[in-house]
Amino acid sequence: MQRIGVFVCHCGSNIAATVDVKKVVEVVSKEPGVCHAEDYPYMCSEAGQMKILEAVKEKNLSGVVVCSCSPRMHEATFRKAAERAGLNPYMVEIANIREHCSWIHKDMEEATEKAVILARAAIAKVNLNTPLKAGESRVTKRALVIGGGIAGIQTALDIADAGYEVDIVEKTPSIGGRMSQLDKTFPTLDCSACILTPKMVEAAAHEKINIYTYSEVDKVTGFVGDFTVDIRKKARSVNSDKCTGCGVCQEKCPSKKSLNEFNRGLNTRSAIYTPFAQAIPNVPVIDRDACIKFKTGKCGVCEKVCQAGAIDYNQQDEIITEKYGAIVVATGFDTIKLDNYDEYAYNQSKDVITSLELERIMNAAGPTKGHLERLSDGKAPKEMVFIQCVGSRCSDTRGKSYCSKICCMYTAKHAMLIRDKYPDVNVTVFYIDVRTPGKNFDEFYRRAVEEYGVNYVKGQVGKVAPLPNGKLLVQGSDLLDNKQILKEADMVVLATAIEPEASVRKIATMLTASIDTNNFLTEAHPKLRPVESPTAGVFLSGVCQGPKDIPETVAQAGAAAVKAIGLLAKDKLTTNPCTAKPDELLCNGCSQCANVCPYGAITYENKEVNDHGIRETRRVAQVNSALCQGCGACTVTCPSGAMDLQGFSNRQIIAEVDAICR
């Protein structure tokens, strides 16, 4: 029987307002094994932790139960406190009487009763706890960054600058990401390319950074400190070592009908192409679906014109297997498909465009060479309408429930730039709310209104109707005037909701990183661990975690890098001691457990055993505790109960069940 101390936290009034902590102390002190019980306003405070230290020493406690907030908050704190008192840290259990009790119940009697039961379950468990010792595992001093946009580039630069090797895997032919598609950036109106390209060049030139473009992550195994990743380098059909980036192949390529992805499909490109002029690497790829040589076998123009002999039609996908200690996900975003919003006539009219498409139109390298013109007839618009929140803040089934965060600001930017460059163009913005928290953001928006005369109308648009005269009739609300507005516009720009890049789902599954209903990666704690995934060793950078603008993305990228560096700086990691452990005498050697182990941690060995005097060689299961992650799948397949999970043993869980159902 253990000697257990129970500590009930008030958490100020967070717990004590709903749970009668004194009553809990009184009741649990009568539980078997409990030889000390007390309450304290803040157990997590230094003074609170001292309470544990003192009691362990004075009463010679062998186990501790803390009734407090979620173990996800302070389990580590209390385990450390116990360790300081000389107790094995795994002799501590937490009864979650805040998140699972005081915060969700109103009735004191009811909440107190539940708190007592939760405490009893924890006590029953601790009674069966055994000291556990954490093992150690090595750390591969190399990081992988998935995604080569501004988030990935910044993270890679920061990690590399700290002296660690970094690989960037980017699925398109060049790094640069969404930021390379932007024309100007808010709130300073810097040219996007001017501030991005130096970073791209720096990354490419960095001796610690290795960039795999036109590549994807195929497979991830292993765990924190020791991931093994298969990277698929897709066949570029161009030998990167030989190519000089002269661009002749692209000029001469006879297949020029493919939609230009970089320009959001607003114009076309050749089958052999680099996405944009500043692409890194400046090595084209052949789009095999569009290439005449690949489709018909006849052509080969690029091969003929290439002085360097770099064209290689026989190139195959290549799989590179590499080990990493840390992985940073920086997969970014895309705009949502607008097929559910045909009331805005995006599919019906070429002159209804998304904001990202407007970026390309405004950009000198874009489809209109930077001239603001209608894509239908090339005419300069006189009347422009911007519609905010298209697909954002929609709690119906059509759109996204969240605010995309960046639209208010970039729309102000677009409106301002247009009014600045084309003062004869009228700009009207239909908005629901203008959200501009951020340094110099609201000032920026007000400048658009006050100095540039952008017409902001509070109210959503209900319909955009193309007119026979080529104009667009915008039917919107002016809620402040209580009017329905009918406005003829030449162009309509939709502030389209952003969503995580589609590939993130597959990547999250490979990394076993959790993902929310909107496909944003979940952070380990929404406030306190915002750049870490709940999966150890996986960090989050940029919009893959949630909508954010460039400064926030860069800040988060740096934070993710710091977290990764913190991990890579360690030589060894302590491993989770809650691993599976077989009882050799009970093991049948049936291999069922090995069949369900996701880590290949279970092997079988013929081993001499002494079963109560009977010596014989048996086939018994062995668990490699460095590989075992402690899921427990094996324990349930084992009919004899030979395989058990330390820290979550059959008897411990049954003791909890019994305590709850008592």
Binding site: L586, N588, C590, Q592, V596, T637, S640, N650, I654
Partner: protein, 322 residues
């Protein structure tokens, strides 16, 4: 039968096997029991007839630990159990010389008794050689006749098949005995109301005396130490008032053998209280077949077992049976 004895003697004599695992005549005509035969002389007691229902595969676990090979006689259905044990590394194929024996349906003495035949002295028609459609039974109350088919064990009415799935040689022919639907009884229970289901099982399980005969005979229940006998789950508290084991024994046992049970029917055959224990196992088999595709434990040792395998598209637990 003599052919089996002759072949066994031959194999013992030429040193291929060290011992023979078969059936030995019991004190009555209808209760032969499993036995080892070490010498040619021992084999005089050997018997193989329609009452040799006992599945010898489980004995091979212990036999696998002995020196040299053991000759074992397996009926077609027994061979599934052996194969399953092989899959689970419980028996050593190298230590077994398997003679697959023909089977014409095994008889159940209780079924005969239920037909009003009491005081049995002698039964003819049950040997493998003269197996015929009618059993002639000599009783202290005079001669009786019972049809062979009507006296068969439940499992033979829904026999898995006449072919052995593992053997070194096969002696004797098997007869097609199937005349029932394997899952009809399970279906009948499934269609009951919850109340009726509960009353049915309560009535049956209340008969259990926890003699462990089912567990001891079951080739899938071959743990070195049963979970109910160890303290791993706090489930074995004999002296305690705890009733977990009492109430849950059969459900847990069925779960532990789910996906591994070959439906050999030994549990029901040996239950002294006549509880239809196979109805638990067969429910799992039926569900597995329906939910995850047909699977017969022991048929193919390389097949993925249903509970250590999954598909991304598996049905959800809360789903109603469609």
């Amino acid at each position: 039968m003599q052919e089996l004895v002759n072949r066994a003697k031959e194999l013992l004599a030429n040193g291929t096997v060290q011992r023979v695992l078969g059936w030995k005549a019991g004190d009555m005509a209808y209760n032969p029991e499993p036995s080892y035969f070490e010498t040619e002389a021992d084999l005089s007691d050997f018997v193989y007839d329609a009452f040799c229902g006992a599945n010898l595969s489980k004995y091979m676990i212990e036999a696998s630990k002995k020196e040299g090979k053991t000759l074992v006689f397996l009926k077609p259905c027994d061979s599934y159990s052996f194969n399953q044990l092989l899959k689970e590394h419980r028996v050593d194929r190298e230590k077994a010389y398997i003679i697959g024996v023909g089977c014409k349906g095994k008889l159940d003495i209780e079924t005969i008794r239920k037909q009003g035949v009491k005081g049995i002295e002698e039964i003819s028609g049950a040997s493998m050689d003269d197996a015929c459609d009618t059993l002639k039974i000599k009783t202290i109350y005079g001669d009786k006749e019972v049809s062979y088919q009507s006296a068969m064990l439940e499992r033979c009415h829904v026999c898995k098949g006449k072919d052995h799935v593992v053997y070194d040689e096969v002696i004797g022919e098997s007869r097609d005995t199937v005349d029932g639907e394997r899952f009809s009884e399970v279906q009948r229970i499934e269609s009951m109301t919850p109340e009726e289901k509960f009353l049915f099982f309560q009535k049956e399980l209340s008969k259990c005396i926890r003699c462990n005969a089912c567990r001891n005979v079951c080739p899938a229940c071959s743990c070195r130490k049963c979970v109910f006998d160890s303290n791993k789950f706090d489930s074995a508290q004999k002296a305690n008032v705890d009733s977990f084991e009492e109430k849950m024994f059969h459900i847990i046992r069925a779960f532990h053998v789910a996906g591994r049970c070959t439906d050999c029917g030994e549990c029901s055959r040996v239950c002294p209280q006549g509880i239809p224990l196979h109805l638990f196992n067969r429910k799992f088999i039926k569900d597995i077949n329906e939910f995850y595709g047909d699977y017969t434990a022991g048929e193919d040792i390389d097949a993925e077992a249903p509970l250590t395998h999954f598909e991304f598209t598996d049905r959800e637990p809360n789903e109603e049976r469609g």
